[in-house]
Amino acid sequence: MQNILSVQSLTKKFDDFTAVNSISFDVEAGSIFAFLGPNGAGKSTTIKMLTTVLKPTNGEIQINGFNVLKEQDEARASFGIVFQDQSLDDELTAYENMVYHAVIYKVPKKERDERIRTALEIVGLWDRRKDFVKTYSGGMKRRLEIARALVHYPKILFLDEPTVGLDPQTRKAIWSHIKTLNEERGMTIFLTTHYMEEAEAIANKIAIIDHGKIIETGTLEEIKEKNETETLEEAFLNLTGRDIRDENGEASNKMRLMGGMYRRRRH
């Protein structure tokens, strides 16, 4: 199998703090790759770099054969992303959000309506397409964001904690959509989540990151075997420790040392 995503010694430094420290990994085309780690481990910073939102301090990223730093637009056309925080325009209707996306991703005009319809039907929002996004619930917004990310037929879909804050019904529905996309269209899925059972159920391959370093990679079975645990969650806790992390990363004593870094790291 060829790699759809390939990362080599990727590093991001904010002043003297290293959020991501020389990580390397590959994601096979057609797989579901779970990228796990405690809060502030470097997950979101990594996703931001993979999706051209942040410039890496160092390292190479290839998506769909395109160099993310040098062939930005080709790389951008190859992936879809559902960000951790909402990124919809509340003042537009769902359909208008979809059209906006289709146009800026240069979906041919003839195919636009059809593709938008299909994507909205997949997530069950076609009947609500004319409603303003501000009238949507959290789960509906998430589903709309997933639908939106599908309109330009990405080769790889990044999902940054797509089910956070959602009820079990919605979470189940979202994962089943994602699984279908992966199986029926061969779309590669790159996801982060804090729900270990979700990763366990869906991922072919798992990487665990902590303190900006990848500390474990492998299939679910390999990781459980290596760590001699019954579940992924136990393996995860053994690997990353049981301390509670600050929302912005790092154990709290280190945060204090870092002082003014707090504000900068949020973006």
């Binding site: 931001k48 939102v53 930005q72 925080d85 325009d89």
Partner: protein, 250 residues
């Protein structure tokens, strides 16, 4: 490329059109200024100038003011987009930053232009009249250039701001002085040298003077000089904005 710019433009217009409260609310200030200053200082101005009509002087200034405020706000809206996450959606798309800059500038400028036209209509209700149809055409060009320049300025500032905390500072130390020292409310003759100097480096000075010159035939620097200055400034700020925008990170 045209379609990308169009959809960015369309989004801004839809948002503007849908917030009727903002549309109506933003007419209150120019109306108040025109009534309070126009009728308040009118008699004084007439006496001092030997019979000239203050409303003729003031109306282009108030139209410029409403364009200034609307344009800067529209530019700064990018900060809201950033805070509500929508900016990321646009930034990860396979489009150039220049396209984003152009789309947003034209969107904001169009909104400011509409706002200016509505206020211009209000001045007609209060008795203001343009000299002729040609002068009206030239006036519209000035209104659009003012809108373009200040939307570009808003966007340029917004590309460097992470949140709305600096908003008050920008209002009080940049936008308000730009308005008050532009000659929108009073003639710039016989001012203390320091104030005169500031008014000469104030971009709106040339917009107001040009608009006034176009509409009423009275200008301090000459309409075509004003036109050249505001054109050059608009080109400059849009270039700066495009450069800063190309480095923007969500």
């Amino acid at each position: 490329m045209i379609e990308v710019i169009y959809i960015l433009w369309l989004r801004q217009l839809k948002r503007y059109w849908r917030s009727k409260a903002r549309l109506v609310g933003s007419l209150g200030q120019p109306l108040l200024f025109m009534v309070a200053f126009g009728f308040g200082f009118g008699p004084m101005y007439a006496r001092a100038s030997g019979g000239a009509n203050y409303m003729d002087f003031l109306a282009p200034g108030i139209v410029s003011m409403s364009i200034l405020f609307t344009a800067v706000f529209s530019g700064l809206e990018v900060i809201w987009d950033r805070q509500f996450g929508f900016l990321k959606e646009t930034l990860v798309a396979p489009i150039t930053r220049t396209e984003i800059m152009i789309g947003k500038t034209l969107g904001g400028a169009t909104i400011a232009m509409i706002q200016g036209l509505v206020v211009f209509g209000l001045t007609y209700l209060l008795g203001f009249r343009a000299e002729s149809l040609e002068s009206l055409g030239l006036g519209l060009l000035f209104m659009f250039l003012i809108a373009l320049f200040f939307t570009g300025m808003g966007l340029t500032i917004a590309s460097k701001m992470k949140d709305m905390h600096g908003f008050q500072m920008i209002m009080n130390f940049l936008i308000m002085p730009i308005f008050f020292l532009s000659g929108a409310l009073f003639p710039l003759e016989n001012l203390p040298p320091a104030i005169y100097f500031i008014s000469r480096i104030d971009p709106l000075t040339y917009g107001v003077d040009g608009l006034r010159g176009a509409l009423t035939g009275v200008s301090a620097f000459g309409v075509y000089n004003d036109l050249a200055v505001i054109l050059a400034l608009s080109a400059f700020i849009c270039t700066v904005g495009a450069v800063l925008f190309s480095k923007i990170e969500a």
